[in-house]
Structures are given as C-alpha cells and as structure tokens.
C-alpha cells in the first residue's frame, strides 16, 4: 500500500514537471525527471503515459531538433502531446495564420525541409496579404515551428514534435 502511494506521488510530480513550463521551452529534460523522481523515473513515466492515454495525451521523448529520441533518455526532452486533433476554435489563432503555417510547412516538406525566405514569402503573398505574411512567419519562427538560417527557412523543432508531416501532405494533396 505504502509502495503504491510512493509511485502515485512520483507520477504526480512527473505530471507537474511535464505540464507546467519551467524553462523557455515546454516539457522537461530526462535528467530533471531523474533528479526529481529517482532511479525508477522511466518506469514512472511509462505508468503516467498509461494514465494520460485515457485522456488522449501521450508522453513523447524528443531530441533538441524535435525528432523522437529513444536513445538518450536523460538528455532527451519529455513533452506531453495531444493525441487527438484539436478543434480549430481552441487554438485562438486566425484561420489565415494557421493556413499560412500549413502552406509553409507543406512547401518546406516538398522542398526537402528548407527553402529561401523570399521564395516562401512570394508563394504566400499570392494568396495572403503581404502585411500578414511577414509577421506570421516571424511568429512561427519565434514559436519554434520554423527555423531560420541565413535567409533560409527550415522546419523547426516544434513542427517535428507536433505535426504528422505525412498526414499534412496527404490531406493537402487530397483536398
């Protein structure tokens, strides 16, 4: 009985660390979980994952670049992701802004992950007002959905973690 309550206590601690942001980026590092929970932290995360699955949430282990990282649990970042798609109104963002991100990501995926900023802006400006395109891209760069390196835009860590790229492309092509 006592053992059970210890596990529960650790699960609560892990949930708090996962859900409440402590750093600039969401989620928590493996070594932070280990320090807070102890040696059996990976088992605790597995149990928490089972509990969260019932609520449609999944704990994922990602690398710095947002890809799944199963190799180095202590160095990885653990994040809680929503398994089921979010209703559009729950995002609090304009449909136009979401459409800009969707189009940019689809274009980047088709270009092997990166394209020049000018090329993207020109493509988007044919469909959306230029004054909306620039700030929108800047916001997604800040949020981590996109990355920038010397006027080249690439897929950001957050897209790798959150977006099912194949589904996105399939849906756009099927529309």
């Amino acid at each position: 009985m006592e053992e059970e309550s210890k596990v529960e206590k650790n699960m609560k601690k892990a949930a708090q660390l996962l859900f409440f942001r402590r750093h600039r980026l969401p989620g928590v590092r493996g070594w932070e979980l280990k320090r807070a929970i102890g040696g059996d932290w990976l088992e605790v995360i597995k149990l928490l994952n089972l509990e969260l699955e019932r609520l449609g949430i999944e704990v994922k282990q990602i690398s710095e670049t947002g890809e799944e990282n199963e190799e180095d649990p202590e160095g990885a970042r653990f994040v809680a992701l929503l398994k089921t798609p979010l209703p559009p109104k729950a995002t609090g963002r304009r449909i136009d802004d979401i459409a800009i991100l969707s189009a940019t990501l689809a274009f980047l995926i088709s270009k092997q992950g990166k394209a020049s900023k000018k090329e993207i802006e020109e493509l988007l400006s044919e469909k959306f007002p230029r004054w909306r395109v620039g700030p929108s891209i800047d916001r997604y760069l800040k949020d981590g959905y996109l990355g920038e390196d010397e006027k080249m835009i690439y897929i950001g860590w957050r897209t790798r973690a959150e977006v099912d790229k194949k589904t996105l492309l399939d849906l756009i092509l099927a529309s």
Partner: protein, 257 residues
C-alpha cells in the same frame, strides 16, 4: 596555373551553393569534377594549392553524401513534386489549408504558472521597493525624442531649404494639375525608388494641405489623385496610410519594360 586554380575554386563554390541553398545535388558533375582534380593534382607544388585541392575533395564528398540523402528522401513517401504542392497551395481555400493542419497537429500540452514561492519572492521585493520618486536618481532620463521633425524645424536646422522645398512642391502640384485625375501609383512611381519616395512624400504633403484630393475606391482598393480648387474642411478629412514597398516598385518597373 591560375586558370586551373580558378576551376578548383569554381567547384568549391558550386558545392557550397548546393549545400547552402538545398538545390539538387545531382547538378554537380561529380565524375567530371574528380577528373579535373586528378588532372591538376601533379601540378600542385605549394601547400596552399594542395590545401585547395583537399578542400575541393572534401566539398565533393559532402555533395555525394547529399546525393545519398536526396535519393533516400525521394524514395520515401514524403517525396512530392514541389510544383504540385505549390499549385495545391495556390488553389486551396485558406480554410482547407488550416483544416489539413488541424488534422495533423498534436500540440504540446503546457501551462505557464507561478509558484507560491515565486509569488512570495515577488511580494517581498515589492515591499522592499522604495517609491519611484525616491529612486529617481537611479534612472537617468533617456534622451527625449521630440518625434518627427516638422518642415519648419528642418528649415531652421538648414537641413531643408524652404525655397527648394516649395519649388519641388509646386512642381508636383503642377504635374497633378496637368495630368488630371490619375491612379496614385502611376503618379508616384518614378524610375528610381528614391525619387518615388520623395514624390510620395510631397504628394502626401499636398493632400494634407488640401490642394490635391486622394480618392479611395473601397471595393477595388484603387487610389486616385486629382487637383482641388477650393480647400476641404478638416471635418471631412480622413487619415490614410500608404506604404511604399520596394518589391512592389520593382514589379512595377519590370512591367514598364
């Protein structure tokens, strides 16, 4: 010798461009480039030349690596012709694009919060903080900008000559009178972007002064200028901001050609 060195530099630069811009790595003729290196290798005697040769080899090997990745990505289901995606993006409604994103998006669940400990720290800090009037010396006033300078101030500072400004203004006004009702952009755009900016500024001055009217078609968004005879009452005036975009001006210039 110089010619062969140039060829090596050309190979290096071409490889770097492919790496940087993510263009097709098969654009580089690897076999041909290696043949060139092989051909020149016996001629290199200086260390710098040999280093250049080594750099070229290193860059070519990076391209071969990229070619491997390129084939791998094209053989996966992710490979789709970018042109097809471009077309789809152009024709799809924003709502459909957003729907595709929502259906493939699994956002991270995260919340910002403040802990009781941090709240107490904040409270303690607040309680210890002296009123601002007692701490004024800690914060020297920053340079007070007076905002945009008026024409009068610019003339007083000898940055602008009153005669020259009036002369330019009259020229623009005369042109409006001569050309009658005219599309705003056709009037403002000049052969040089700098001149277009000056003309847009002078035109805005004339519009603000009530000498020229700016008419905006709310449906098409087209803007027209025409000279006014009498002055317009300030109650009827509206403010409108027009941004002069360099890219738009370039497009206009290209169309003129």
């Amino acid at each position: 010798m110089k010619l062969s060195k140039d060829q090596l530099l050309r190979i290096i630069n071409f490889c770097k461009t492919i790496e940087k811009e993510g263009t097709n790595p098969f654009d580089l003729d690897v076999r041909g480039s290696l043949e060139t290196l092989k051909q020149y290798l016996p001629r290199w005697k200086l260390l710098d030349d040999l280093l250049l040769d080594a750099e070229a080899i290193s860059e070519i090997s990076k391209i071969i690596e990229l070619q491997g990745k390129w084939i791998k990505s094209r053989s996966t289901s992710f490979f789709i012709d970018p042109l097809l995606i471009e077309l789809k993006i152009k024709f799809l409604e924003p709502e459909r694009l957003a729907d595709a994103f929502f259906s493939s998006w699994h956002p991270i669940c995260s919340m910002d919060r403040i802990t009781p400990k941090r709240l107490k720290e904040g409270l303690d800090y607040w309680n210890q903080l002296l009123p601002l009037r007692e701490r004024k010396s800690e914060f020297p006033l920053p340079f007070q900008s007076k905002g945009a300078m008026s024409i009068k101030e610019l003339i007083e500072l000898n940055i602008l000559s009153k005669n020259k400004f009036n002369e330019e203004l009259s020229k623009v006004f005369e042109e409006v009178r001569r050309r009658g009702k005219i599309d705003y952009w056709s009037f403002v755009y000049e052969k040089e972007f700098k001149d277009s900016v000056i003309k847009a500024y002078l035109t805005s001055y004339l519009v603000s002064d009530g000498k020229v009217a700016l008419e905006l078609d709310p449906i098409t968004g087209d803007m027209f200028l025409y000279p006014l005879r009498g002055s317009v009452s300030h109650d009827k005036q509206k403010s409108i901001s027009i941004s002069l975009d360099y890219e738009d001006w370039l497009k206009w210039k290209r169309n003129q050609k």
